[in-house]
């Protein structure tokens, strides 16, 4: 190394800090882009993450299904083995049945709203306090790109924030970075729905004079150019009028149960119709 050992730490740290600042600066100034190295990391990690999550799910299923069979009498073991086989068979059919129902729901949404798009499978979830994202098993090679809206049969899921060749990352509506232009269904009050992490969402910039009702549905307004108009985003949970300032504090419960998402539908523009 050319740098004297005494100054190596400062020298190395200076170079790396500058490199980090460059990456941070580029990322903050062009938030919609997925850079090459990020794509590489996502592409390499997604099969491993998918495999681990599938294994965990498998172990969890085995644990749930077979734990209580261990240690039974010999006589009962054969019978219980048979029951387990039947249960597994039944469970497989049930899984297929529920999967078909979910896909029918998504297909129904696609038909009723005349939305072109791509069906994707959720392969990973990031449910930390700060980041609320999911990973999909399709990417730019399937026609997906950054900014496209993602929905499920229950309602709006979020939008794609990173798209690699074969995987995409979706920012959920409950993430702090998520802002969607919405309108309430009955009172037609417009506002910005901002993610609130584990607390759900909040409707911002609703004037105190507006008559927002608890229980009414919140829909996408179609403004902003990302989400089509009229998709369900959530339900008004609470309206707090005892706050200082110009605006009401409106809590919204998202329509989608993100922890149970397995398949989603990415809405693509008409001209990029893929499926």
């Amino acid at each position: 190394m050319l740098i004297p050992k005494k100054y190596q730490t400062i020298g190395v740290a200076s170079v790396l800090v500058v490199a980090s600042l460059v990456i941070l600066s580029v990322s903050l100034h062009s938030p919609g882009e997925t850079y090459f190295f990020r794509k590489i990391v996502l592409e390499i990690s997604s099969p491993a993450v998918d495999a681990i999550n599938t294994s965990i799910e498998g172990v969890r299923n085995v644990w749930k299904r077979y734990l209580f069979l261990v240690g039974l009498e010999e006589e009962n073991r054969i019978l219980r083995g048979r029951i387990a086989q039947l249960t597994k068979g039944l469970n497989d059919y049930r899984e297929l049945y529920y999967e078909e129902r979910r896909l029918r729901g998504l297909a129904g949404l696609k038909e009723s709203a005349k939305l072109p798009g791509v069906f994707c499978r959720v392969i990973d979830r990031n449910n930390s306090y700060l980041f609320k994202t999911i990973m999909l098993n399709k990417g730019t090679s399937d026609g997906l790109r950054v900014g496209l809206p993602v929905v499920s049969a229950e309602g709006v899921v979020g939008r794609i924030v990173e798209a690699s060749w074969n995987v995409s990352k979706v920012l959920l509506v409950v993430d702090y970075n998520s802002n969607i232009d919405v309108v309430t269904q009955e009172s037609r009050v417009q506002g910005i729905l901002q993610g609130g992490g584990n607390a759900g969402c909040s409707l911002k910039y609703v004037e105190r004079s507006e008559d927002v009702k608890i229980g009414e549905q919140v829909l996408t307004s179609g403004l902003g150019g990302v989400f089509p108009k009229g998709l369900i985003v959530g339900t008004v949970l609470n309206v707090d009028r005892n706050v200082s300032g110009l605006f009401l504090k409106v809590e919204v419960m998202p329509a989608v149960r993100f922890s149970r998402l397995e398949e989603v539908f990415v809405v693509t523009p008409e001209k990029e119709k893929v499926q």
Binding site: S20, V26, S27, S45, A48, N177, A199
Partner: protein, 165 residues
Amino acid sequence: MIYYLLLPLFCLIVLIFQTTLLNLLFLGKISVEVSLIIVVYAGLHLDAVKAGFLAFIMGFILDCLTGFVSGLFTLYYVAVFLVVRILSFKVYAEGYPFIVGFTFIAVLVEALFTALVYLVFYEVNILSGVLKVFLAQALVACLLSPALFKALDRLEGVLNVREAR
């Protein structure tokens, strides 16, 4: 040279483990940053170039896997490397009290740093919620750090990458 070739793979494996299995172990309530403990370890035991690159690569891959903004964790991990490096010249940094204390503070400062970035660039104040979660994360991480240091000591012995001081 082999160290620099294997470094990204090592970091990727650690971070996949951290974001999947370890996350599951704590029921998804808190995420324990093993990666941060490894950066602290590298700052104390490896030479400046090796440790610096480890911090940089670890932060960058963490950004790619979990972060929304590239460079956030990269910058923070490099800063952690620099601070631990400087402190190791000034104080006795090999003892467990230092390791536990430093890990605890590093996780908490990370929360403040992230909250500050969110406040400045996205105008969202997440500090109150973040502190509660990160306090728990800091406690778990600092309690795990001595055991992880021992494990890394063994791994380092096998790989023979320790700095000749």
